[in-house]
Amino acid sequence: VIRVLACGALATVQDRGRRGALRWGVGLAGAMDGLALAGGNLLLGNDLDAAGIEVQVFPLEVRLDEATHFAVTGADCAATLDGKPVLPWTSAEAQAGAVLRLGPPPPGRWRGARCYLCVAGGIDVPVVLGSRATQLRGAIGGHKGRPLVAGDVLPVGHPVRAAARTGIGLVPAGLALPLAVDGVPAVRVLPAAEYERYTPASRATFWAEPWRVTPQSDRYGFRLAGPTLEPLSPMELRSHGIMPGVIQVPHGGQPIIQMCDAQPSGGYPKIGTVIEADLWRLGQAPIGSHVRFVETDWDGALAARDEAARWLASVARDLDRLHRRSAA
């Protein structure tokens, strides 16, 4: 088991998300950076639906009661194991009773916001509606449907494969799949239903200006600050289904991007939708950083999804080759 010794706010057990339950009004939840979680799971030989711990407020300190293979992916959080540094995105082994500490992301070449503690076998909390993800709004899934607190004890599943090799690292997703415009991290966006109902100047601004991630940004949604987006005429819409990635514009003209814990419906006009393949990039955008929107289309969105899938497949292939070679 994993014992939480110290924990900042809003650390949660997350997996790929709870798909297929939106029809009952149950949102997706899941890791804000799904590629980081997937990378950690691949390093440990886990299935891709294994759950890890998402950490966004530091420090997090846990004791691993049994000898465990683990990896910390996502943002670099200067992890230490019994005081010794552990490299990010790298498989490592903890002896029984070892204490793992994750600290705030240090300045580096790539700045992220969230890190993922993955363990061989995954965090084995009960599956609720097909997923182990913590759904904070509905208080279901994860560990008792809530963020972790000091004193929590989390069960670890049985490793799928024999002991994973330690000291194997991955080139982090943020570096393997870079996307920036004028040096500002970017995400690709599909124009949404009400896009044409904004002034030409606002539409141009939407694509041309950087948008600041305000402190009112969390797993539910990111409130952005930038130029005011003006509709051609006031819009009043009935509530309708929405998804993570939808960019709404409330009356103040400052966009909100719905994120993993988005409620399943809303009534604000939608100017765009961040494509699914780029949501992880937002998940790593720190408060106060800027993002740019890049216009794409349906084919572009599918190509981006394929690109991410190809990266994961390459990782799996490279790891498999390494394991076969070392087993030979």
Binding site: G167, G169, V171, L319
Partner: protein, 136 residues
């Protein structure tokens, strides 16, 4: 007609000449893996530097073909610098091979004498990466 099995000795000679430790050919009908020597492990091998007159320091050599990195790509700070004391198993540098980052580790407790390979340099099997002074 062009089966690689007819040319294994030729391929092996090419591998030896190029200093590569293995060659994998993957085709629609199968896979051929040629590996030189008994040691197939990916962990960097450690070889004595024959050139050193007094054999005072030890060379940590590359286990294969890849790009040698002084620092983890998320970090600006190099993993080690000259005069750093390192412990057995500690990563001295990283070899970027495809999507992977493999560690060149210290074979024993030692002090870093020199990081030989340039940051980002393409290195091959056996190329010197880091020189270590033995622990006093």
């Amino acid at each position: 007609v062009t089966s690689p099995f007819n040319r294994i000795s030729e391929l092996a000679a090419l591998l030896a000449a190029a200093g590569l430790d293995e060659l994998e050919l993957v085709g629609p009908d199968g896979r051929v893996l040629l590996r030189r020597g008994a040691d197939g492990a990916a962990a960097p091998v450690s070889v004595e530097d024959e050139a050193a007159e007094d054999a005072a320091f030890e060379v940590v050599a590359s286990s294969g073909v890849g790009h040698f990195l002084h620092a983890h790509p998320l970090r600006a700070q190099p993993l080690v610098a000259p005069d750093d004391a390192v412990v057995a198993g500690q990563p001295l540098g990283l070899l970027r091979v495809g999507t992977l980052l493999l560690q060149a580790t210290a074979p024993r407790d030692a002090v870093v004498a020199r990081v030989v390979a340039a940051d980002g340099a393409l290195v091959g099997y056996g190329d010197p990466l880091v020189e270590l002074w033995p622990e006093e």
